[in-house]
């Protein structure tokens, strides 16, 4: 794979919070359609890396190139680039003042200038896909956590992004709801979406991941297939971590 | 034996009574009082008091007498007792130069300002077609006139002349347009609480008379006007 084929290129990226080096010389290429799962202990920089891809964090050094465009280059419109990137947060972050449908229709209508009808059609399709079309006219706070997270995924998909970023999408959920969200993610993966997921659901990783990345202290320590991690992780740090979460 | 008389004065009324740069209350009336002290056993203690409420304070007994350019009117006589007159006033109308206001008739449709509760205020509000605005201080009314928010200011002629003529800034723009004629002459007097302090009233009247007779009154008058 040539570097230029990659849809996400992370090159020599550093990010500091004060003295703390949250990202320490990160290099990573992700090809179109690839599914990457990021694991690592708390505070290792997983979220920071994911958020940097979306420029929710401003990096201090290096380059992040999405679909050929350097996102930190002032000439590139970051808002246009972000439309290519769907993001799903641990805490759902649905807009509480809009119905489920409103949440899904807002960005397509305002940003892609779709008509109300077009936006609603797309929204309803996506709600079908994530299995909660019956809740279209309900406000988010009436939904369970699992349902909210599925709406959040649908909302991100409504902008028809090329890449989906997930930051521990299931870790705020009660155990009985994790399955329904993972199912949606697995289907998405099967449809060929490029995905970067921070998650410790190793079943999910095994099922869909092309590549697993283990981070620690802001560095990428080890990269490999899921099988590699389950069977023969190289580094002691990785072994220790896996022994804790499995 | 000395008689102490506390006096209220709204010292925002130059040249009749005002606070000078040394923060002392001065003007025509205070000097008159000082002259009266010299010819009698009275000791005046002048206190600066806001005009609005100056009569309420007298009624409440906060002071014995008001020496603050109070015109003697029938309405006021009902609620207070006056000394002999000490000054004759007319109501002066200040307007912008070139405003073409020359008589009472020209005031129709105009906005007039005056200090609340003064004769100027009482007279002007009775003129038909005039929108009346009342101010706490005459100076604020003149400033609003200068700034173009009102068309005329009505106040005692001596005060009007002072504002219109002696102040450099105002004298460029403002002039004493005319005097409001009234059927009966209007006099200023010292006001006392109704029914109280008759002895003090008498002392004041006596002293005033002495000052007038001695020619001291004219000397002070000429100094200020």
């Amino acid at each position: 794979m040539k570097a230029t084929d990659a849809i996400i290129q992370i090159k020599d990226v550093y990010k500091y919070f004060g003295n703390l080096c949250a990202l320490d010389d990160i290099n990573l290429d992700i090809s179109p359609g690839e599914k990457v799962v990021v694991i690592g202990p708390s505070g290792s920089g997983k979220s920071t890396m994911l958020r940097s891809i979306n420029r929710l964090e401003e990096i201090d050094k290096g380059h992040i190139i999405i679909d050929g465009k350097d996102i930190n280059d002032r000439d590139n419109d970051i808002n246009a680039i972000r439309q290519e990137l769907g993001m799903v947060f641990q805490s759902f972050n649905l807009f509480p003042h809009k119905t489920v449908l409103g949440n899904l229709m807002m960005a397509p209508m305002k940003l892609k200038k779709l008509s109300k009808n077009e936006a609603e059609k797309i929204a309803m399709e996506l709600l079908h896909k994530v299995g909660i079309s019956d809740k279209a006219h309900v406000y988010p706070k009436m939904l369970s956590g699992g349902q909210q997270q599925r709406v959040a995924i649908a909302r991100a998909l409504a902008m028809n992004p090329k890449i989906m970023l997930f930051d521990e999408p299931t870790s705020a959920l009660d155990p009985e709801m994790i399955g329904e969200v993972l199912d949606v993610m697995v289907n998405l993966a099967k449809e060929g979406m490029t995905m970067v997921c921070v998650t410790h659901e190793m079943g999910f990783a095994r099922e869909v991941a092309d590549k697993v990345i283990f981070m620690d202290k802001g560095k990428i320590i080890e990269t490999g297939t899921p099988e590699h991690f389950f069977s023969a992780p190289e580094h002691d740090r990785t072994k220790l971590f896996l022994s804790q979460i499995l | 034996s000395q008689t102490n008389i506390t006096v209220a004065s709204d010292a925002t009324w130059p040249p009749m009574e005002y606070v000078n740069k040394d923060k002392t209350i001065t003007g025509f009336a205070p000097e008159l009082l000082a002259a009266m002290e010299k010819v009698s056993d009275i000791k005046f203690d002048i206190r600066n008091t806001a005009w609005d409420g100056i009569f309420a304070g007298l009624a409440a007994g906060k002071y014995d007498m008001i020496a603050s350019s109070v015109s003697i009117t029938d309405v006021r006589k009902k609620v207070m007792t006056f000394s002999d007159p000490y000054f004759e006033v007319k109501q002066g109308v200040i307007a912008k130069k070139g405003a073409n206001i020359k008589s009472k008739a020209d005031l129709a449709g105009k906005k007039a300002g005056a200090q609340i509760g003064t004769t100027g205020f009482l007279v002007t509000r009775k003129i038909k077609g005039v929108t009346m605005k009342s101010y706490d201080e005459i100076g604020l009314a003149v400033e609003d006139l200068y700034n173009g928010r009102i068309d005329v200011v009505v106040c005692d002629d001596a005060v009007a002349a002072d504002y219109a003529l002696t102040n450099e800034q105002y004298s460029k723009d403002l002039s004493l347009a005319f005097l409001l004629k009234s059927d009966t002459p209007e006099y200023l007097g010292f006001a006392f609480k109704k029914g109280a302090s008759q002895d003090k009233l008498k002392l004041v009247n006596d002293a005033l008379k002495k000052v007038k007779e001695s020619g001291e009154y004219d000397r002070i008058f000429n100094k200020w006007f």
Binding site: M106, Y139 | A56, R149
Partner: protein
């Protein structure tokens, strides 16, 4: 300031005492004050109509002016406040400092001094030769804009950061995020203090009487200056203000209840 650095932060607003349901004492006090005030007005007018009824008849256009000043000023202050609030949270250092300095200065000078100052300073500029009511409104609006700015700031700060991030990640720019996602959510938090400021502003509007604007207080003082009935005139003025602010504070408390129980979201 809705400052979170203290464990408990007491702020007594300058509005009226809002009779919220859980404060039984105030609810009782509200009824006593309100019906007491109304009763007093009626009683006084019946017993001494020559005096009190005359005062009351003298006031209505003053009440109108008070409301005009209050309503216009609150609108102006909301607009100023919105921009100030946004400025106060802006990352742009210059905008932030300008907004903060505006707040610091306005809150550091007595309202009465500001009124005098703005009113007469405005008057000095030829092109601003506007009549007293607009000048008074502009002055009150500028003063209250600083307070409203803090209300907006706190209202915006009360919205979870994740909301903004979610909107940005969908591709909304900063302005769209603010106006389509943050502000629509923060009105629930902003509305009650705005109601409170409205009452505070109505009370403070009595200061414009010093600028010779013919509001309730001015009318009362004019009446008193002619009739020398200071006690009666001020009694009536106080009662009228009391009735008005009590009605408004009840309205604010009803609004707060509504907002608390509003099940829309």
């Amino acid at each position: 300031m809705a400052d979170k650095s203290h464990p408990i932060n007491i702020e007594v607003g300058d509005g009226a005492a809002i009779p919220v349901k859980k404060d039984k004492g105030l609810v009782n006090a509200w009824s006593i004050s309100f019906f007491g005030a109304i009763g007093c007005i009626i009683y006084l007018c019946l017993v001494d109509p020559d005096m009190y009824w005359e005062v009351l008849k003298f006031l209505p256009d003053g009440i109108l002016v008070t409301f005009q000043v209050t309503i216009a000023s609150i609108f102006l202050s909301l607009i100023i406040g919105l921009f100030t609030g946004l400025g106060r949270i802006s990352d742009n250092k210059i905008i932030n400092t300008v907004a903060s300095t505006y707040v610091e200065i306005v809150r550091g000078i007595p309202l009465l001094v500001q009124l005098f100052y703005i009113y007469y300073a405005l008057g000095r500029f030829e092109f601003l030769q506007i009549s007293e009511l607009p000048s008074a409104i502009i002055a009150m609006g500028i003063c209250y804009g600083a307070y409203m700015g803090e209300v907006f700031r706190a209202g915006i700060a009360s919205i979870d950061k994740g909301q903004g991030e979610a909107a940005r990640s969908l591709g909304f720019n900063k302005t769209q995020t603010m106006f389509m996602v943050i502000l629509p959510q923060s009105w629930k938090t902003i509305l009650p203090p705005v109601g409170n400021e409205f009452i505070a502003l109505l009370k403070d509007s009595s200061l414009v009487s010093i600028l010779a604007v013919a509001d309730i207080l001015r009318r009362g003082r004019e009446f008193a200056s002619v009739t020398f009935s200071y006690f009666e005139a001020y009694t009536m003025v106080a009662l009228v203000y009391l009735v008005i602010t009590l009605i408004l504070s009840k309205a604010v408390s009803k609004m707060e209840e509504r907002l608390n129980y509003y099940e829309g979201y």
